[in-house]
């Protein structure tokens, strides 16, 4: 009989695949001998799933910074281990990853997350253990300035910092550009219902209205959605000058493409969530009028980044450093610098040490590859540079770099 034999083949394949999804390879590290102690820097980022292109660039950049610090013996008597966790782009998974890192008493700092919605799950858990979290990419204002950031700012997490500026700046910068440079008078807002997308939409809308523009409507897409026919028709009927999208490229790219192929002439603009190569490749040849802002200056405009770009290339990473690589490199070095100040002479990591690391990060002041790295009283970067890109010739072309000052 063939059947039972086939079953014996099929079952392990299925079981094996199931096991692969529950990825959790974990190397338990013991503190190395000869007086060297181990400190871990964790990471929470999407290493698989549709945002993995961004997440893998983050992982490699942090890995690079840590390898360089270890090679240089930057923290006397201590060796840094890297513990990257996959949030798969899902807030619950990210929350579980944060819980895991928070319970590891060798972890003294976490780099991440990519998405603001996941940071909202991760930051409280790490904050409770006084573990610093430095995000290279979160832009939603509420993470540093509290839920009521428009009225009264109050910092919710003392251990949370970020080297990316907020959507208040990013959205307002984009609104300013749209109104004054593109001469858009009406906008159609669309977001993905997540913290980042909604916040960006709001920030853009508020500034756009202040300038005298009109918000025609706000609509929504769903994570994983690829077909936008009826939303496109709705937008088309409204005849906006601009569609401003708050969300990530996996939905933003097909949405923009379907707008274009339905004959919608409006410009399409979004935030740093759109800045990925696959946004451009999805649009293909019919790209008409697509813009995206990113936090920080363009890498080619940062003389200090040249060494990083070269070191990244030399290290032979398989994936590109993507939109947040340089920021991640700076975020990781922020933690390393703080550890270098606090750890020498200590033999273990306890609450006092972690508190000291936290205040060392708060006092950060160094020249990073993306510019000066320092934080204000909310944990936000003092570097408020935004760059506007336009999709052209199969890539993002820098249009203007600056900041928003009201």
């Amino acid at each position: 009989m063939l059947t039972p034999r086939l079953a014996r083949v099929a079952v392990p394949i299925i079981v094996g695949a199931l096991a692969l999804t529950a990825c959790g390879s974990k190397k338990e590290s013991s503190s190395g001998g000869s007086g060297t102690h181990i400190v871990k820097i964790g990471m929470i980022a999407p290493l698989t799933g549709s945002l993995s292109a961004l997440g893998l660039g983050m992982k490699n950049s942090a890995d690079l910074a840590i390898n360089q610090a270890n090679a240089a013996g930057k923290i006397k008597g201590w060796k840094i281990e890297f513990d990257p966790q996959d949030d798969t782009g899902d807030a619950n998974t990210g929350g579980a990853a944060a819980a895991k890192l928070a319970s590891d008493n060798q972890v003294a700092g976490v780099v991440g997350t990519l998405q603001s919605s996941i940071a909202l799950q991760a930051a409280p858990q790490l904050n409770k253990q006084n573990i610093v979290m430095v995000s290279p990419a979160n832009t939603n204002p509420s993470l540093t300035q509290g839920q009521n950031y428009l009225k009264t700012k109050s910092r919710p997490f003392a251990s949370y910092f970020r080297v990316a500026t907020t959507d208040l700046i990013q959205g307002a910068f984009a609104a300013d550009y749209a109104y004054n440079t593109l001469h858009a008078k009406t906008v159609y807002l669309v977001n993905d219902k997540l913290v980042y997308g909604q916040g960006l939409n709001e920030a853009f809308g508020n500034e756009f209205k202040k300038k005298g523009g009109r918000v025609l409507a706000t609509d929504f897409v769903t994570g994983g959605q690829k077909e936008f026919g009826s939303l496109v028709s709705k937008v088309k009927q409204a005849k906006p000058d601009l569609v401003y999208y708050g969300g990530q490229f996996p939905e933003g790219a097909p949405f923009s493409k379907q707008l274009t192929s339905a004959g919608v002439k409006a410009a399409f603009m979004g935030g740093d969530g759109l800045v990925d190569k696959s946004f451009v490749t999805t649009l293909g040849v019919q790209t008409a009028n697509d813009y995206a802002t990113n936090v920080g200056a363009a890498v080619e405009d940062l003389p200090a980044a040249a060494d990083y770009v070269k070191a990244y290339k030399d290290a032979g990473y398989k994936d590109a450093f993507s939109a947040y690589g340089p920021n991640t490199y700076d975020a990781t070095n922020t933690i390393i610098n703080a550890l270098a100040k606090v750890l020498p002479g200590k033999s273990s990591i306890d609450a006092t040490v972690l508190k000291a690391v936290e205040s060392a990060v708060q006092g950060t002041d160094f020249a990073g590859i993306t510019g000066k790295v320092a934080f204000d009283q909310y944990g936000d970067t003092t570097n408020r540079i935004i760059t506007m890109y336009k999709v052209e010739g199969g890539d993002f072309k820098k249009v203007v770099t600056g900041t928003f000052s009201g």
Binding site: T3, P4, L6, A7, V9, A10, I13, I14, V15, A17, L18, L20, T21, T48, G49, S50, L51, S52, A53, V190, K193, D219, F220, V221, T222, G224, Q225, K226, E227, F228, G229, S230, L231, V232, S233, K234, Q237, P250, A253, P254, K257, Q258, S261, A262, G263, D276, S278, T281, T282, G284, Q286
Partner: protein
């Protein structure tokens, strides 16, 4: 009013896609009473099959309209063959097991296929732009406009559905399929090799899902390893809405679902956020008043 018809037309486009996939669910259910949860992934792998042929095998300068049928057929064959393999390896050994066993296996196969594509297909996790094999442009009927590729989607879907209908109603194999669905033991005694009929049913469902893979790729590029999940969920809803096991019901359910989503997007406040919820409300309402779906019959007792 024009906008109403525009949304109706957009709903038909979406519905055609749902219906093509829903047919696979409903046919398989009709014949082996199995909800093949891996069907969404069979659709997804089909899209990658078509993409693979285009990207790696066809010459770059091949005219799009020549490549289109090749890609389409490649998608269909990929899904069809995969459906047959899944049936043979995962479901047939469990033919006489309690119902729950193949159902859980189906979920396992679904995860296994997603993970295989994610792990082994380059860039499948971030999404690959699907080739645009249809000229850009719009067809206008009155004030309603649809892109050429959307029109092609609807026309091809309807042609495939009619072909399926003819096959099932008027061919010897189709008759044998219906006979097996009604009473497999008696069908056996008519000399019908029901193993072959069951695998044929899986393959037919796979062929349609594969076609849907190419169509969705062209309408809503890019494709990634997760596209089967939402498409599968919607198509399954459509199949249940129409009355699972009923072929006409799956088509009707697909169109109803697509149109409800489109109209909800336009006319319900916050509709674009709530359209999925709306689709499920419709499903629940139908099931409350007609537990067997729009066209389903009461469950047959098996002798």
């Amino acid at each position: 009013m024009t906008q109403f018809f525009q949304q109706l037309s957009d709903g038909v486009v979406l519905g055609a896609l749902y219906a093509l996939i829903a047919l696979g669910y409903t046919m398989v259910y009709g014949i082996v009473q199995l909800i093949n949860f891996a069907h969404g992934e069979i659709f997804m792998v089909g899209a990658f099959g078509g993409y693979t042929i285009y990207h790696y095998l066809l010459p770059d300068n091949m005219p799009a309209l020549v490549a289109l049928p090749i890609v389409l057929v490649a998608s269909m064959i990929t899904s069809g063959v995969l459906a047959a393999i899944v049936e043979r390896l995962a479901y047939r050994p469990l033919r006489n097991a309690p119902r729950l066993a193949p159902l859980i296996t189906a979920i396992g196969v679904s995860i296994a296929l997603q993970e295989m594509i994610r792990l082994f297909y380059p860039n499948a996790d971030r999404g690959e732009p699907f080739p645009q094999l249809f000229p850009n442009g719009q067809v206008h009927f009155g004030g309603v406009s649809e892109s050429y590729v959307n029109c092609f989607l609807v026309v091809l879907s309807v042609v495939l559905m009619l072909a399926l209908r003819t096959f099932v109603l008027h061919s010897a194999t189709g008759r044998a399929m219906r006979a097996t669905a009604q009473d497999p033991d008696t069908a056996r005694l008519m000399g019908i090799n029901i193993d072959r009929i069951i695998v044929t049913t899986f393959v037919l469902g796979g062929l349609l899902a594969g076609a849907a893979g190419t169509l969705q790729g062209m309408v809503a590029s890019p494709i990634d390893f997760q596209i089967g999940f939402i498409a599968g969920l919607k198509a399954f809803t459509a199949a249940v809405l129409g009355g699972i096991g009923n072929i006409t019901g799956a088509v009707l359910g697909g169109f109803v679902l697509g149109i409800v989503e489109a109209l909800a997007t336009q006319y319900v406040p916050n509709g674009s956020a709530l359209k999925d919820a709306f689709a499920f409300v419709v499903l629940i309402l139908v099931l409350v008043f007609r537990p067997t779906g729009l066209l389903g019959e009461s469950v047959r007792a098996r002798a």
